[in-house]
């Protein structure tokens, strides 16, 4: 691809000229408003997914039941193409009067956001050290107090991980909302593809990528700040230390892979 230098410089030039044109920033279809729409729909979907998935995951984890159901949910979530769900919800949304854009996009986003939150929360609560739970019970704590004071704090890192994985996937998929009439950052990409406008397309790609990476980093930092005591199973070293030493944990098929950089 030795000739890629030409098209690359050209594309970057088009990106620059798109970004420096004032008109592209303001108005309903401008960068500012579309970024806001993208963030808004992602935040709302994440919130709904957390409300739907969180409580049952805590309950199942506390009772130490339903592990195989979790595996099923995770695998189904991975196999279902979100693009397809989006396309399927669109005609239904039109039929039932919810229209284009926002609502047909929210449904697949919420569905997509549920498995990571559910599985990580479940695993986090369930894997609380039985010895610690026993000790708390022995000190006279009621079951509910054990959950609130022992299991939930211990599960915090994994709960945040679940939210992080969910959030990044939701932001990525909100991009596809452009296909059903949502004026989000993805619209720059679909419009750019349709009009052969590289500047427009690259702008969309850059902003979506930035938003996803920023979210990833923000959640990672939050996790670190909230859980200074964190220990990862196996070797008792934190994920960061493990990475520095170069010994990753494998991703088992029947658990939740938590991807992404640190």
């Amino acid at each position: 691809m030795g000739a890629a230098g030409g098209p690359l410089m050209e594309a970057l030039g088009e990106l620059w000229s798109f970004l420096t044109t004032d008109d592209n920033w303001w108005g309903e279809h401008g960068i500012a408003n579309r970024t806001w729409v993208h963030v808004k729909i992602s935040a709302l979907s994440l919130l709904v997914a957390a409300l739907v998935a969180g409580p049952p995951a805590v309950a199942f984890g506390h009772l130490r039941r339903g592990g195989s159901a979790v595996v099923g949910i995770v695998n189904l979530g991975r196999a279902l193409p979100s693009f397809g769900i989006l396309a399927l919800v669109l005609p239904l949304s039109i039929q039932f009067g919810f229209g284009l854009g926002f609502w047909p996009t929210v449904v697949p986003l919420v569905l997509l956001g549920i498995p990571p939150i559910f599985a990580n929360t479940f695993t986090g609560i369930r894997s609380a050290d039985p010895g610690v739970v026993e000790a708390a019970r022995g000190m006279g704590l009621a079951r509910r107090q054990v959950l609130a004071q022992v299991e939930l704090p211990l599960a915090t890192p994994l709960i945040i991980t679940g939210l992080r994985v969910s959030a990044v996937q939701i932001i990525a998929t909100a991009t596809l909302g452009a296909l059903v009439g949502l004026s989000s950052l993805g619209s720059f990409i679909t419009e750019g593809l349709a009009r052969f406008d590289n500047g427009r397309m690259l702008t969309g790609g850059l902003l979506v990528a930035l938003l996803a990476i920023t979210t990833e980093v923000a959640f990672s930092v939050t996790e670190r700040v909230l859980t200074p005591w964190v220990r990862v199973s196996g070797g008792g070293r934190s994920r960061r230390q493990r990475l520095r030493r170069g010994d990753p944990e494998p991703i088992p098929v029947d658990e939740v892979p938590n991807f992404g950089p640190l």
Binding site: E10, A79, P81, G84, L90, N198, L243, I251
Partner: protein, 227 residues
């Protein structure tokens, strides 16, 4: 209202029109071949790259963190955003689709290859060294073979992930089953969408089952206690 328009309207009122599907067996077959090819090619190329990068990471531990960081970064970039970067460089079609798909497999595969090889008992590695195996020969003949279960776990996740992502490549002119989904989306006609989703899930599950069998064939020593 001509008869054709009425027929079309009737079609749209049901979720799945079997009649529509039954007239498209050839297209379904072509889409299947294309979806499978896009998936297997991407995971295959991704696997080769991952083996090389894993070998580097295992040989020089310090390189693991940057490799993990870069592949993690790639994994975090949404697919549509990645297409936006690739189309200006490669145009539409197979090449940008593959670059994107391959980049999504690396993190999963490298993590599992490195962790799998790490899990090979030290005694086995020493025995291989003692039998005069060179570093490279040991890596391919002993380390990778014994790490097979962990590696296959990674390949399974990568395959299922890529099968889903292939549908989105319909937007840049590839797509396999995604072509049906895009068609249904553009005409707000549910039948091709249902067809695309169902076939995509069936393909993902089938590939997964095949890989479970492959794992059993490759690890005859683990006959008992296979998960």
């Amino acid at each position: 209202m001509t008869a054709a328009v009425v027929a079309q309207a009737e079609l749209r009122d049901q979720l799945v029109s079997w009649d529509w599907i039954s007239r498209r067996y050839d297209e379904i077959w072509d889409a299947t071949v294309s979806h499978l090819w896009l998936t297997v090619f991407a995971v295959g190329v991704g696997f080769l790259i991952s083996v090389v990068l894993s070998a580097v990471a295992l040989r020089w531990r310090r390189t693991y963190a940057p490799i993990a960081w870069v592949t993690g970064f790639l994994y975090t970039i949404p697919s549509l955003a990645l297409f936006a970067f690739l189309v200006p460089l490669f145009g539409l079609g197979f090449v940008p689709a593959q670059v994107a798909l391959v980049s999504y497999t690396l993190l999963i595969l490298i993590r599992n290859i490195v962790a799998g090889v790490d899990g090979v008992p030290a005694a086995v590695k020493e025995a291989a060294d003692g039998m005069g195996y060179g570093a490279l020969r040991r890596f391919f003949a002993v380390d990778l073979r014994l790490a097979t279960p962990t590696i296959i776990a990674g390949v399974r996740i990568a395959m299922v992930t890529v099968v889903g992502l292939v549908t989105i490549t319909a937007l840049i002119g590839e797509g396999g089953y995604g072509v049906f989904i895009l068609d249904g989306l553009r005409r707000t006609f549910p039948t091709p969408v249902m067809l695309g989703i169902t076939l995509s899930v069936v393909l993902a599950v089938s590939i997964d089952l095949v890989l479970i069998l492959v794992e059993r064939m490759l690890t005859p020593w683990a006959r008992r206690g296979v998960r």
